[in-house]
């Protein structure tokens, strides 16, 4: 289908060729120089000097403009961006390091505080124990003292009582002797007799 239509098109413009030719003639008739040569325009040497000159001028200026103005600017933009990116990355790394250090410091402080708390607890415990011990000792000492006092009093009371037992025995003995014998025994004899019995 493509072939046939292409063929149809090819035959169609052939009707126009005479028209084109006349038009071309009128152009050359008007004396337009480029067309007057009748050569294929890109191969027309008459245009070469002018084209080369203007190419040299325009391209030369373009080269200088790009080299002096545009490229330093674009290069600068890209460099600044790259610098900024590396700078930001560095800063991010630095901040991360700082955050890590803060976490480490926090953990260390926490550990220290825990250790301190343990130490304080231990100390308090020890102090309480020591206090309790001293209090106990004091109480024990006081009790011992009181016990000693009581024992001393008991022994003195006992001694007094024993002494009184002797005199009572003497009195009783002299009374019994008086009643039984009717004589009076000397005090010294009775005391000696009581003493020998009591022993």
């Amino acid at each position: 289908m493509f072939v046939t239509s292409a063929f149809a098109q090819e035959s169609a413009p052939s009707a126009d060729t005479s028209h084109v030719a006349t038009e071309g003639d009128t152009h050359s008739g008007t004396g337009v120089p480029a067309e007057a040569h009748g050569t294929f325009p890109p191969f027309d040497p008459a245009t070469f000097p002018s084209q080369l000159l203007w190419l040299a001028i325009t391209f030369g200026l373009f080269y200088l403009f790009l080299k002096r103005v545009v490229m330093p600017r674009v290069g600068g933009i890209i460099d600044v961006r790259n610098d900024r990116i590396t700078q930001d990355l560095d800063q991010a790394a630095k901040l991360k390091g700082e955050a890590d250090a803060a976490v480490a410091a926090y953990e260390q402080e926490l550990a220290e505080a825990k250790a301190k708390a343990n130490a304080i607890g231990q100390q308090a415990n020890d102090a309480a124990k020591a206090e309790a011990e001293t209090a106990r000792k004091k109480v024990e000492a006081a009790l011992d003292e009181k016990l000693g006092e009581a024992e001393a009093r008991i022994s003195s009371i006992k001694a007094n009582a024993m002494k009184e037992v002797g005199s009572i025995a003497e009195d009783t003995a002299s009374a019994i002797v008086e009643a039984l014998v009717g004589g009076k025994a000397s005090k010294a004899e009775i005391a000696a007799a009581v003493k020998s019995v009591a022993r």
């Binding site: 126009d16 890109p42 674009v74 961006r81």
Partner: protein, 252 residues
């Protein structure tokens, strides 16, 4: 005027706008020169204005300028190494000039600067002249090592050197003809198909119906020409980079 559209060669004609003649040479300001000026002004203004805000976060147009800059920069660095970066302004100018000239040529009624062999040859000769001059300046006669590849058997050497010399000499020709022929052929084809549309629609209802196909072709060709405009600018710049690499490192 209908004939202008049908004649596919008419678009390549050069008209004098301001006749200048110095020393017997015709140095007139022509439509070709006008479009060279337009190319330079458009390219320079685009690059200048889009980057004028120097935004850290580029807008769309600034991105385009930066992309072109980095594209050519990477191309040159890949081909010729960091030493080649001294030619960056040159290659960037060439790329932008050819690209903008090609793109401007796509506009209807606009003259295509790069469709003239003398213009493309002028640029190619500039490239080769740069290569030769810099090569001899940097390496002296060592630059001639370019024509003597390493590891070639002695009995083959004359033949290889001959081939290398021919390939070097043909470089400016191939570089210029490639760009010129692409632009010329593309614009002629475009004009021919557009001409079919005009001629056919002059034939009445059947012709108008029949002109749809060449119209579609013209649209497709315009897209193709847009691609070719980029591609040829890229090819021109890449080959320039490779030739400059030869000037920097003549030993193969």
């Amino acid at each position: 005027m209908a004939a202008d559209k049908v004649d596919p060669i008419h678009q390549f004609h050069i008209n004098k706008l301001i006749p200048i003649e110095i020393g017997g040479y015709d140095l007139s300001f022509t439509n070709s020169a006008l479009f060279m000026v337009a190319t330079v002004v458009v390219a320079a203004a685009f690059l200048f204005l889009t980057t004028s805000s120097r935004s850290l976060v580029p807008g769309r147009l600034q991105s385009v300028s930066e992309m072109a800059y980095e594209f050519v920069g990477n191309m040159l660095r890949d081909a010729a190494g960091t030493q080649g970066m001294k030619f960056f302004p040159f290659v960037f100018s060439l790329f932008m000039f050819v690209l903008v000239a090609n793109l401007l040529g796509l506009f209807p009624y606009f003259f295509t600067v790069t469709s003239h062999i003398i213009v493309t040859f002028g640029l190619a000769a500039l490239v080769i002249a740069t290569v030769v001059v810099y090569g001899f300046m940097k390496h002296g006669l060592g630059f001639l090592k370019l024509f003597v590849p390493h590891g070639v058997p002695v009995f083959l050497l004359p033949l290889v050197v001959l081939i290398e010399v021919i390939s070097f000499v043909s470089r400016p020709v191939s570089l210029s003809v490639r760009l010129f022929a692409n632009m010329l052929a593309g614009h002629i084809t475009l004009k021919v198909f557009s001409g079919f549309v005009v001629s056919l629609s002059a034939l009445g209802a059947v012709g108008v119906a029949g002109s749809i196909l060449p119209l579609a072709m013209a649209v497709a060709l315009t897209a193709l020409e847009l691609l070719v405009a980029f591609l040829q600018a890229y090819v021109f710049a890449v080959l320039t980079c490779m030739y400059l690499n030869d000037a920097l490192h003549p030993g193969h």
